[in-house]
């Protein structure tokens, strides 16, 4: 039996190419709007060589993939599953579509659906978590389309532009995922 978790209709998930992909990563990081959706800490920029060093020295066991388009093999973003807890069978997911041309068109949603298949069928996880900023409505819709459910609001956790913003917690159980995909 052969299983392939990582090839979809719109995207393929491919491990990072250290030589080619980090230049793109550095370029995406210049987009402050993207950075503000991706992380709550102050938007910073790092050279591709420094990112490379960081990844090489990183000892976590997360699974990082670059998102490639099926149509022309363009690298448009990344998705990562990590922070595993093997007793709770719980993990965290993070995703960023760095190329603005490919946002809001279903590429991120399909990437997430592929990753959830890998998480539940490949890794036998019980649940997957994510955080999303309350102002990121597009991402919240995308996560709901994958079967994630709202689990709470961390009040006033982000402080930008002299305003406080909430962070939303979402989660998906294996049973949610099976029901959602009618497995």
């Amino acid at each position: 039996m052969k299983t392939n978790f990582f090839n979809g209709r719109l995207v393929n998930l491919v491990p990072l190419d250290m030589e080619k992909d980090l230049v793109l990563w550095e370029k995406w990081d210049r987009d402050s709007e993207y950075k503000r959706l991706l992380d709550d800490i102050p938007a910073a920029q790092f050279s591709s060589s420094l990112i490379k060093e960081y990844i090489e020295n990183n000892t976590n066991d997360g699974s990082l993939f670059m998102v490639h388009t099926v149509s022309d093999d363009r690298v448009i973003g990344f998705i990562e599953l990590g922070g595993y807890d093997w007793a709770d069978r719980n993990a965290w997911v993070g995703i960023g579509i760095g190329d603005p041309e490919y946002r809001g068109k279903g590429y991120g949603t399909e990437s997430m659906q592929l990753l959830l298949g890998y998480a539940f069928k490949g890794l036998n996880l019980h649940r997957v978590n994510l955080n999303v900023f309350a102002y990121n409505k597009r991402a919240i819709r995308s996560y709901e389309k994958c079967g994630f459910r709202y689990e709470g609001t961390q009040r006033e956790s982000i402080y930008k532009e002299d305003q406080r913003w909430d962070v939303i917690d979402m989660g998906i159980l294996r049973s949610d995922w099976e029901q959602f995909n009618q497995i």
Binding site: A87, R127, G152, T153, Q154, Y159, G171
Partner: protein, 192 residues
């Protein structure tokens, strides 16, 4: 300026943690999976004294360099026996939030010292670290801790369904938080 000590309560004192002196005791605490979860990565196991020394020396050094973690040993005022460990974790100065990680050696000591330590921790968080938000992550099975944080004014914000596995079954994981204006209101109410 409030001239009361940040570190001295009526029952407990906050002091530095000393890996050399405290390691033997901390090693015993690692038989509690929750304590280990608060300080170690990876799959749960107890840790031996030499590992504890190395680990906390490194963590305290990093904490000093990066100022994102603040550790305090909680000691009984009489005799200064270490009874708990307190850490302000993931302190984000730009965002004005931090997590609170607080463990006592056992339930009897928590019963005695938790409430005062938490009052002191909130003052330190809002008046010294200048935070806006202080949060704590609790397993659904720890009903004693849940009650104490609720009593102190923390609100339940998030319920991660079945995120924690303990003794053969799943429990929810909860996020509780208190914001600076809420804490100030409570202080005012008490003074009235």
């Amino acid at each position: 300026m409030d001239t009361r000590s940040l570190f001295e309560g009526s029952l407990v004192v906050w002091t530095s943690l000393d890996p050399e002196k405290d390691a033997a005791q901390l090693s015993k605490w690692t038989f509690d999976p929750e304590f280990v979860r608060h300080h170690f990565d990876g799959v749960y196991r107890p840790y031996m004294v030499s590992e504890i020394k190395k680990k906390f020396k490194e963590d305290l050094k990093k904490a000093d360099e990066r100022r994102q973690q603040y550790y305090f040993g909680i000691r009984e005022k009489e005799g200064e026996r270490l009874v708990g460990l307190l850490r302000f974790a993931w302190v984000q100065a730009a965002l004005q939030y931090a997590g609170l990680v607080l463990d006592f050696e056992d339930e009897t000591l928590a019963e005695k010292y938790f409430d005062e330590t938490l009052e002191m921790a909130m003052r330190y968080a809002f008046m010294e670290l200048n935070l806006h938000r202080l949060y704590v992550v609790l397993p659904g099975f720890d009903v004693d801790a849940i009650g104490r944080y609720e009593q102190a004014g923390f609100l339940r914000e998030t319920q991660r369904r079945q995120a924690r596995f303990r003794d053969g079954q799943y429990y929810d994981e909860l996020i509780y938080a208190i914001l600076k204006p809420e804490w100030k209101d409570r202080i005012k109410e008490k003074q009235q």
